[in-house]
């Protein structure tokens, strides 16, 4: 490992911890320490997962609420959409794009 700062310099304790245990007592001690550490990390992961679930639920509730507000503001809109402030103007569009757009047009039949 390339040493850049003093943090990268191993301490005597660090060297001892990284070394392969030579006695049964050292091995058992380290195994016990690592088991505790593993259990702690599992608890931490559970907390993160619980937080993630909670946040996802909150986001879903907010999206539902925004959809409701969008209906109130503009019934034909159906849902609130994020748009850029500028109008998207496309002079030439593909055939598929045109068909997509045509679906949104309001059509009135006129007979002559």
């Amino acid at each position: 490992m390339k040493i850049k700062t003093m943090r990268d310099v191993s301490t005597i304790q660090g060297l001892r911890n990284q070394a392969t245990p030579t006695t049964r007592e050292q091995a058992v001690t380290e195994a016990a320490r690592l088991e505790r550490e593993l259990a702690r990390l599992k608890r931490e992961l559970d907390m993160w997962t619980a937080n993630q679930n909670k946040t996802t639920e909150r986001m879903q509730r907010i999206e539902q609420r925004l959809a409701l507000l969008g209906e109130l503001v503009e019934p034909s809109l159906g849902s609130v959409t994020e748009r850029s402030s500028g109008h998207e103007r496309v002079a030439e569009r593909t055939e598929d794009g045109r068909q997509e757009k045509e679906k949104g047009w309001r059509t009135v039949d006129l007979q002559y």
Binding site: G70, V73, V80, W105, T107, V108, D109, L110, Q111, Y112
Partner: protein, 309 residues
């Protein structure tokens, strides 16, 4: 939070012929000529007096093109914004950033919102524009059409926008109508605009076409329709009126007598009454014209007697 209200989609017309629409050889010929010009990307202008079927013909030709139709009817109150659109309202946005709870950052932004109008939609999407009675709009309102028809470019007044110039869609076509004999609420078209249009002059249809159209629109048998059409055509030929009696007058009379199941006979006072109601109104009613109106009634009665004996 930003709530964006979607711009309402344009309302377009899906034009189709009625069941009683008659495409006589004369109508077919004019429509084919107009279509030839339109397919060559030239705008067509139908010009003719009232009752010659300009608007119907324009819609018929537009239907042949097979594209959605945008219909605009000229009006004195029209300004350029009524054709292309205008700035309407604002997009308002407020952001409160409290990513770090001790630091509050506010951002506010208001952007003017541009709303397209029908001509802009037509240019952008390649619709067929039918501009009915375009000389009823003031000439300056129609100036925007000059670059659209010549350079194929719609120039919008919002200079700061990246959309100040819109390339007109290659499928965009335009059909104009106007009545050169109209004297109420019309303007002269500017030469620059007239020069860009292929003008087709329309006149009243021949007798056979008028009979077929009137019969189709009223449901009256052809031989009975012929009597009504002859009365109206002879009255038109007499010149004794202020407003030209048109095909509409024939259809009015024929439809009413068809609904009431009256025969077109001079001996039936109800039929004579309907003819007088429809045709006598073609003269301006002033106190000084009483004698003329009496003469006109006499002439109308003799026409009815002659054709509907």
């Amino acid at each position: 939070m930003t709530i964006a209200v979607a711009e309402a989609p344009p309302t377009i017309l899906k034009v189709s012929a009625r069941a009683d629409f008659v495409e006589s050889p004369a109508v077919h010929d004019v429509a084919e000529r107009a279509l030839a010009y339109l397919r060559a990307s030239y705008p067509v202008h139908f010009r003719g007096p009232a009752g010659t079927g300009k608007t119907t013909l324009a819609l018929h030709v537009a239907a042949q093109l097979g594209r959605p139709v945008i219909l605009i009817v000229g009006d004195e109150g029209f300004a350029t914004a009524d054709l292309i659109g205008d700035k309407s309202g604002y997009h308002y946005r407020k952001v409160v950033d409290r990513f770090i709870h001790t630091v509050v950052k506010y951002e506010e932004d208001a952007v003017e919102r541009w709303v397209d109008n029908r001509l802009t939609h037509a240019c952008r999407e390649g619709f067929t524009l039918v501009y009915d009675e375009f000389t009823r709009s003031r000439p300056e309102a129609n100036n925007i059409l000059l670059t659209i028809l010549e350079e194929g470019l719609l120039i919008l007044p919002n200079m700061n926008s990246r959309d100040a110039y819109i390339k007109v869609h290659p499928d965009f076509r335009s059909i104009f109508t106007s009545n050169p004999q109209e004297y109420a609420g019309v303007h002269e078209a500017q030469d620059a605009l007239s020069d860009r249009l292929v003008t087709i002059d329309l006149d009243y249809y021949d007798r056979d076409t008028e009979i077929v159209i009137t019969s189709a629109h009223s449901g009256l048998p052809m031989e009975q329709t012929a009597k009504v059409v002859d009365v109206v055509r002879d009255f038109r030929a007499s010149g004794e009126y202020d407003q030209t009696p048109t095909l509409r007058a024939s259809i009015m009379i024929a439809r009413v007598i068809a609904q009431q199941e009256l025969p077109p006979a001079a001996s039936d006072p109800r039929f004579v009454g309907i003819c007088l109601d429809v045709l006598e109104s073609k003269t301006v009613f002033t106190s000084g014209t009483r004698e003329r109106r009496a003469q006109q009634r006499k002439m109308l009665l003799s026409l009815i007697e002659h054709h509907c004996a």
